[in-house]
């Protein structure tokens, strides 16, 4: 019975409450102000509050507010009695949504002597509390956290529970804690260390446990904190033990952190050819490389020679005084700017060089690793032109050879331009690069200055390199005037003689002098050049290395810059000899792993780099920070258009396209005066915004559009802009990106697949013969986890290395019809092409066969006898059982085993190069192991499986319960298989943990897909979360298949029962599902039929339960 009652119904006619209304509106404005100020630090808040407050500006307002908040906090804190000083000295800032809420956390801090900051400040806050971070903050965690620990709120709760301050380390936010590699990272790890995989897996298992325990507050409260600590400790122990694997992994993670922040363009070494061991070392070196710059070269501007992007910090001045000087007056400013830039010349020179010596620079790769390993004493020659920029200019003016000469941009009377390069006579007067011309003239009144002559530089550099390449086939260009030559293979009798002949030739051709250093490695060669200069040569034989280094000041070593030198000085280390006294361990402790090792190695003359590794640039861009002045937005936009043109040209020059675009702006500081240097940038703030687009481009118009948007993000007064830079990163090769990246085409993964197929065949055969021995379980099931994975891995690598992508795909007869049929159409057509069109026939033939194969899943559970009749060797359940029990014993070590035999056909097709460790389909996974894995881990594994193995995907879940059953009871499979599942009829399609419809519908291709997606999402989720995915993938399914009435009926039945289950308790879910269905009914005939069939039923059900019909807009 349903009766209605009403409480005193309150009427609120507006007329009744005139007075209140007035009151309310008055309060209204007040409240708004409060709300805004409360919510953000936005400027609008400041304008609002300053209007009626005594605060002069926003910052004073904020200072006052913070002060007031602190006072409030203090008074509250003193009011709360009997507190324990757990958190004394701790000051937290809560970022975003947390459980418990920030207010509760504040309460805890009050109670236990901590501090709570409402606004983040590097100086007051000691810990940042948050439960979740957006990706952008994770990526740039330093900018967000300012290096402070980012900790989960459970830290506070647990500390209170433990009644003491616990270490925050285990509570660090997973997103931030880089020492917790993700499971997927382990699977995709292409390291030759795979042999330790059992261990890796163990690590995997522990980690999710630990992670799991964090987010659940409720659980944690009950759990004794020490237990958590223990678990964490175990985890850490493991990761310590596994230094070999995980530390490398973390290195990789670390590299993504802002180490390279200051380096505008770091170049990656194309060292894929090498084994991963050396590879890693190389990479480490690669990190350091950009700073690897000999300090005594002719210019002291810290411009890395590897950079393709150039900053113009201080040395710019226009060539002739007639020229227009700024963006204000010169419409072609950008163009002229780069025409007159020396650094631009150095940077773009590399591309020219590469074009000129393409075979030489790329053909080097293969031999490198060999020479590295051999014991032959290597001979490295380092050649460097003497004050290149000056000597080239005066090479035709012999009269000036012994006169002080400098190169600078302009020769104006004020002498405000800077010296870019000076020759040795000039240097003897104390003239250095970067000096103002007027200061230099004061030191040396008869100094002769010249402007740049870029054509000449180009010519000389080309001559220089032709000579080098003539003498040696292994040349690594460092800069336009500097190179390394490797003579190890050339078996040179007397390196000194060779060096002098090269120098002589250079001098005769170019009339410029060069110095050369010879050493056992690149480091020694470079150090030798240093002593050789000017115009000399020096050979440091291995015997003399120690002597030579002993007295060498530390800053002569590459990679030691000003900061590092100062630090070393504090330890009273001035020479390499002193540096050698310090142990490697303490160096690494003091300066970090990589730097420490580098110091240790370099001070002993050890250098593992080898000559000739080609470097790819990671970003391309252009910066202008001289002469940038804008009057209004129009000027700025005009300038940006030109900048885009320049960048686009550079991209085209390198033949690449990019996806991430970063706009950097130098903004004049508020209190900065007009810079001393004419039109310079002065004291500036550096701002940047970036955007990533899905498709790589080099198109000028797209660039311009993006840049315009980016500029909009700055909210900046254009008059304040002193410099602009545009950089493009995430570069892709223009050719390949046009055709779709080579790497991911079917062909290339068939290549890697076929390599492993051989391997598997072997195991397969092996398996059949010994099907009763315990061995087979591991050899069959764990193909990928034992030694073989290592071999496969190598093969794949080798194939990549040899650069020979064509391989034979598996023969037609080995293909699984079912797989082929379910492939997306584009993949199918590609495959068809590979097979020369035979695939279509194959499909047609296979149609009959496929019927039987699709019934395979059924037969497996239904009746083992049928299996035997069909004579399908891979579904014989008896050895299976044995394998399985064997596996069970090992399941704690191995996440992924096998047990299911039906992989034989599958694996031939579906080896995905990416997942070396993962089995190629779910059928290879031990279902019972999978069952025991925590949900989130399961999802990760499922995600990494190829999606197109629809058939066994569905059959596996159906088998799962049976398996477990059979194992625990120990009865034979064939008898014990749950036929009951099949008999469960329509009434309980949604019953059980594993809804029975998934089993029922697997022979219908489209619903099988649904089952698969449902499975992937982890069984217990709701249909509404699965449907969108299914519907969007529905189009990729075999559309040629006709829509059978039966399929529609099944779908309807499924939905009907879902409605029945959910209508009473979760109408929202139903609503969402049907809104989705309705949306897709427009696009798909199938769904429109389903929708129309089921709609009346739905409305009736809603009417029964809610007395109305569902509103479907």
């Amino acid at each position: 019975m349903d009766s209605r009652l009403s409480n005193s119904s309150s009427s609120t006619h507006h007329s009744n409450s005139k007075k209140r209304k007035k009151n309310a509106t008055a309060n209204n404005t007040n409240q708004k102000t409060l709300g805004v100020a409360w919510g953000s630090k936005s400027l609008s808040a400041s304008s609002c509050s300053s209007r009626k407050s005594p605060f002069s500006d926003f910052s004073s307002y904020m200072a006052h507010k913070n002060c007031k908040l602190q006072n409030q906090f203090d008074s509250e804190a003193s009011a709360s009695a009997a507190r324990k000083p757990i958190f004394s000295g701790v000051s937290i800032f809560v970022d975003g949504f947390t459980v418990p809420s920030s207010q509760e956390l504040r309460g805890y801090m009050l109670k236990y002597d901590g501090r709570f900051e409402n606004y983040f400040s590097r100086h007051c806050v000691t810990h940042i509390i948050c439960s979740n971070l957006p990706d952008s903050k994770v990526k740039n965690i330093r900018a967000f956290s300012a290096g402070l620990p980012v900790v989960k709120p459970t830290w506070i709760l647990d500390s209170i529970a433990a009644n003491r301050l616990l270490s925050w380390v285990p509570y660090q936010l997973e997103q931030v804690a880089s020492n917790q590699p993700k499971l997927s990272a382990f699977f995709t790890l292409k390291s030759s260390k795979m042999s330790e995989d059992t261990f890796t897996n163990a690590l995997c298992q522990v980690e999710p446990d630990v992670q799991d325990s964090f987010p659940r507050v409720g659980q944690l409260k009950e759990r004794h904190p020490s237990e958590v600590g223990e678990m964490v400790e175990v985890c850490r122990q493991i990761s310590n033990e596994s230094n070999d694997i995980s530390s490398k992994k973390t290195d990789v993670f670390m590299m993504e952190e802002p180490i390279g922040e200051r380096v505008i363009c770091d170049e990656e070494k194309l060292a894929e050819a090498n084994s991963s061991e050396t590879n890693n070392e190389r990479n480490t070196e690669g990190e350091l490389d950009p700073t690897y710059q000999e300090p005594s070269t002719s210019f002291s501007i810290p411009c890395s020679d590897n950079q393709n992007v150039h900053q113009f910090p201080s040395s710019e001045a226009t060539g002739s005084s007639k020229q227009c000087h700024s963006t204000l007056t010169d419409p072609n400013f950008v163009e002229n700017y780069f025409k007159n830039s020396r650094l631009h010349f150095i940077g773009t020179w590399r591309q020219r060089y590469r074009k000129r010596f393409p075979t030489l620079s790329t053909g080097l790769n293969n031999g490198i690793s060999n020479s590295n390993k051999s014991d032959i004493k290597s001979v490295i020659l380092h050649v460097d032109m003497d004050c290149f920029f000056v000597s080239v200019v005066i090479r035709n003016k012999p009269a000036l050879f012994d006169k002080p000469v400098a190169v600078c941009h302009s020769n104006n009377s004020k002498g405000t331009s800077e010296i870019s390069s000076a020759n040795y006579p000039a240097r003897s007067y104390g003239i250095r690069a970067g000096m103002f011309v007027r200061d230099a003239k004061a030191l040396c009144p008869h100094l002769v200055t010249f402007p740049y002559n870029f054509e000449a530089y180009e010519e000389v550099a080309d001559q220089f390199y032709s000579i080098l390449h003539r003498h040696c086939n292994k040349v690594q260009a460092v800069s336009c005037d500097e190179a390394f030559l490797d003579f190890t293979d050339a078996m040179v009798e007397d390196p000194e003689l060779l060096a002098s002949s090269i120098r002589k030739e250079i001098y005769e051709t170019t009339r410029c002098t060069a110095s050369a250093g010879i050493g056992g490695n690149m480091l020694m060669a470079r150090i030798a050049t240093r002593t050789a200069k000017p115009n000399g040569q020096c050979y440091i034989t291995p015997e003399r290395v120690d002597d030579h280094l002993n007295q060498l000041p530390v800053d002569a070593l590459p990679g030691i810059g000003y900061v590092l030198q100062e630090k070393l000085k504090k330890q009273s280390v001035n020479t390499c000899g002193q540096l050698r006294m310090i142990s490697k361990n303490s160096l690494q402790k003091e300066y970090g792993m990589k730097t420490g090792e580098m110091l240790w190695n370099y001070s002993r003359g050890i250098d593992y780099r080898s000559v000739g590794i080609i470097q790819e640039c990671k970003s391309i861009g252009a910066d202008v920070n001289w002469g940038v002045r804008f009057r209004d937005m129009k000027d700025c936009e005009h300038f940006l258009i030109n900048l885009c043109k320049e960048v686009s040209l550079r991209l085209q020059c390198c033949g690449v396209q990019g996806r991430t675009f970063t706009l950097k702006i130098k903004k004049r500081r508020k209190d900065a005066d007009e810079p001393a240097k004419f039109m310079g940038c002065g004291d500036c703030e550096n701002l940047s915004h970036s955007v990533t687009i899905p498709l790589a481009t080099e198109n000028v118009e797209i660039l311009q559009r993006i840049v315009k948007q980016l500029l909009g993000c700055f909210y900046i007064d254009v008059k304040e802009i002193r410099g602009i830079g545009l950089h493009v990163s995430r570069l892709e090769n223009a050719d390949t990106s046009k055709q779709g990246t080579e790497k991911y085409t079917l062909k290339s993964w068939l290549t890697s697949g076929s390599a492993s197929v051989e391997k598997q065949k072997y195991h397969m055969g092996h398996n059949k013969h010994n099907s009763d021995c315990a061995n087979c379980a591991s050899s069959h099931g764990c193909i990928h986890s034992q030694g073989s994975s290592f071999q496969i891995d190598n093969k794949i690598l080798n194939i990549h290395v040899s650069g020979d992508p064509i391989s034979t795909p598996p023969p037609l007869c080995q293909l699984d019809v079912e797989v082929i049929r379910n492939l997306p159409s584009e993949v199918f057509s590609e495959l068809n092409e590979i097979y020369g069109g035979k695939l279509i026939d194959f499909i047609a033939k296979g149609k009959g066969k496929c019927e039987s194969s699709s019934s395979l899943g059924n037969s497996l559970e239904d009746d083992a006898a049928t299996c035997k009749e069909e004579d399908l060797p891979y579904s014989d359940p008896i050895p299976l059982n044995q394998i399985f029990s064997e596996n069970k014993a090992m399941q704690h070590e191995r996440v992924l085993g096998s047990g299911h035999g039906s992989c034989s056909q599958v694996t031939h097709n579906s080896n995905i190069e990416r997942d070396d460790l993962l089995p190629s389909s779910l059928s290879q996974i031990d279902a019972s192991v999978l069952q025991q894995i925590p949900e989130d881990l399961k999802a990760v594994i499922l995600e990494h499986l190829p999606a197109h193995r629809a058939q066994d995907f569905c059959s596996t879940p159906a088998i799962c319960p049976g398996r477990i059953n059979q194992d625990s009871v120990g009865v034979d499979t064939s008898k014990n298989c749950p036929g009951t599942v099949n008999h469960a009829l329509n009434d309980s399609l949604w019953a059980g943990n594993l809804p029975s419809w998934m089993d029922k519908f697997k022979d219908s291709s489209c619903l099988r897909k649904l089952g698969e997606i449902y499975h992937r999402s982890g069984f217990n989720s709701q249909l509404s979360s699965v449907l969108p995915q299914f519907l969007s993938e529905f189009h990729h399914l075999d559309l040629t298949q006709e829509i059978y009435d039966e399929t529609v009926n099944i779908m309807c039945e499924l939905l009907k029962q879902y409605v029945k289950v959910k209508i009473e308790r979760d109408i929202e879910e139903i609503y969402i599902c049907f809104r989705l269905l309705k949306r897709f009914a427009v696009k798909s005939q199938f769904f429109s039929r389903v929708y129309n069939d089921i709609f009346p039923f739905l409305q009736a059900a809603v009417d029964d339960n809610y007395g109305g019909s569902l509103f479907m807009p």
Partner: protein, 205 residues
């Protein structure tokens, strides 16, 4: 949010629910804009920002009504709680309905945090649901009604006397349902949806 330990799970759920209803009803009233927005102030409940009525009478009405429901909620007698909006002719225009099911046989204790998270999602969803609702004409009235499964006998308790039977203001035309949010957990199961008359009718209004 501290609760007594000796309460039954239903009791716990009911007291959380009462608190929640008070906030949610205020949110509905705020959402419909019956009063100027200045009549509300921002507060934090369950770690989300909500509105609270500033006017004592309004606050009292909502508070008293909902807390009057508490004993009945505990017994599981309340079927639904509705916030009904009328036009000047007392014709209902829109109803916001909380349909409740309290599982009386549920034994174990209530996980406060879980319940909070679920209820919070109602508030979050509600705050963005304005587009689902109809625009109300100016000068309308509203009231809170409760649908009981049985009539509480007057005199059995003090609270029961507050509730007076009311004539059912039924929809005169077929009605439509727009679900906003559902939650089904033990012991509390809550559906929140809007009822409004069919479109043809609304165009007449």
């Amino acid at each position: 949010m501290q609760r007594k330990e000796n309460e039954t799970p239903q009791g716990q759920a009911a007291s959380v629910l009462v608190e929640f209803l008070e906030v949610a009803i205020t949110a509905v009233v705020f959402l419909k804009g019956v009063y100027p927005s200045g009549a509300f102030e921002r507060r934090r409940y369950m770690n989300v920002v909500v509105q609270r009525a500033r006017h004592p009478q309004l606050r009292y009405y909502i508070h008293a009504t909902v807390s009057g429901l508490l004993p009945f909620l505990q017994k599981g007698m309340v079927d639904r709680v509705a916030v009904v909006f009328f036009n000047t002719d007392n014709v209902p225009l829109e109803k916001f309905i909380f349909k409740l099911t309290v599982n009386q046989s549920y034994g174990s204790s209530v996980e406060g945090v879980d319940l909070q998270i679920s209820l919070r999602s109602f508030l979050a969803k509600l705050s963005v649901s304005e587009s689902l609702t109809k625009k109300l004409p100016p000068d309308c009235r509203w009231e809170i009604t409760g649908n009981f499964q049985l009539l509480p006998e007057t005199g059995t308790s003090k609270e029961a006397n507050f509730w007076i039977p009311t004539d059912t203001k039924q929809w005169e035309q077929p009605l439509f349902i727009t679900p906003i949010r559902s939650m089904s957990s033990d012991p509390l199961c809550l559906q929140f949806y809007i009822e409004h008359p069919s479109l043809s009718e609304s165009s007449v209004l």
